[in-house]
Symmetry: C2
């Protein structure tokens, strides 16, 4: 039984690394089995097809991403109890984290599948959707907490503002990939942070 778990997660590790590097379509089963040192038959024993692999990867990725956000904002909360400052610290930590990741953060997985969605079945697409809706809910909640304390200087759609966190990260990652630069995503997050500072700044100015 341990053997199975090992092999399965080894496949997922290799696949994830390769998908983040080259995209899903460009990642062949051949190279996964070579990397994981198993036979083709072994691969199909664990995953009935590439869709099943994609689903498993997304599930695992979303889980770790959620834990990462939990941890990030928990650490931020420890440093400051105020919801706005907690958010600002959390975003700073996120930006630092993004800057440290040379090949740039798994956020890609979502965009990567979104842009090739015809290759995937409904299960994968639903997972993708669920992940983004989850982040929307998370950040929307945090922004509402902030708005209770600091009245926003302009009225904004809170769902859209929640989405903006994901959107800015994803957009930043697209820029980063296309430009072959390394800190665009983190810069974009810092700009978004400035946005929040301005939006929720006390009215005295």
């Amino acid at each position: 039984m341990d053997r199975k778990v090992d092999t399965r997660s080894r496949i997922l590790d290799i696949a994830e690394a390769s998908v983040l590097d080259k995209g899903f379509e460009a990642t062949s089963i051949e190279e996964i089995v070579a990397g994981a040192q198993i036979s083709r038959g072994g691969f199909f024993y664990h995953f009935k097809d590439k869709n099943a692999l994609a689903r498993a990867m997304l599930e695992r990725y979303i889980e770790t991403e959620d834990l990462l956000y939990d941890d990030l904002f928990a650490r931020a909360r420890e440093l400051n109890d105020d919801p706005l400052h907690c958010m600002l610290i959390g975003l700073k930590l996120l930006a630092e984290m993004l800057a440290e990741m040379p090949r740039g953060h798994p956020g890609c997985v979502i965009a990567s599948t979104a842009y090739q969605d015809r290759l995937f079945d409904e299960g994968v697409r639903t997972l993708n959707r669920q992940a983004i809706l989850g982040w929307r809910k998370r950040f929307r909640g945090m922004f509402e907490e902030i708005a209770k304390v600091y009245e926003p200087r302009e009225t904004v759609n809170m769902d859209a503002l929640g989405d903006m966190v994901s959107g800015v990260v994803e957009g930043g990652l697209v820029l980063q990939r296309a430009l072959r630069e390394h800190n665009n995503a983190s810069e974009q997050i810092m700009l978004f942070r400035t946005y929040l500072k301005l939006l929720f700044a006390p009215k005295l100015s």
Copy 2:
């Protein structure tokens, strides 16, 4: 000679529609030649491989996108000569345009190729990069004009702010694709517009 030009752009039309709908990899040469009513041999007469097709598509796309921005902000300028208000009107027009496009705007082409870049050769990647750098320059210039008149309330990196236009559009399009909603990109642009309003607002408050 006319025949050649016709066929070539017919191929590009069909390919572009299909790529925007399904992604590059999922678009087969088979279906392109079927749509364009030519033979496989005919396709390879015009494009030596799929990379050549991608390059031609990107070139054409970037050109029309640039013209679109030219037109958009020219119209905005006609309505208001002030650089900030011109920008705000232009973004509003952009948001409206994005909202009207059901399947969501060709911005995809850039992200789509960015996320499958191993499938493409250096020529395609360079084009991609050039496009984003072009937009950076364009918007950076506009923001600097604004900053001459309205001192920004927070110091921001102007290159990054320029990138943010592209980034917010691309990120919005990713959300839109993944969520299967239709107005995320336009909402995100409107939020970015609010950002600019706050950033360049006169200090009196």
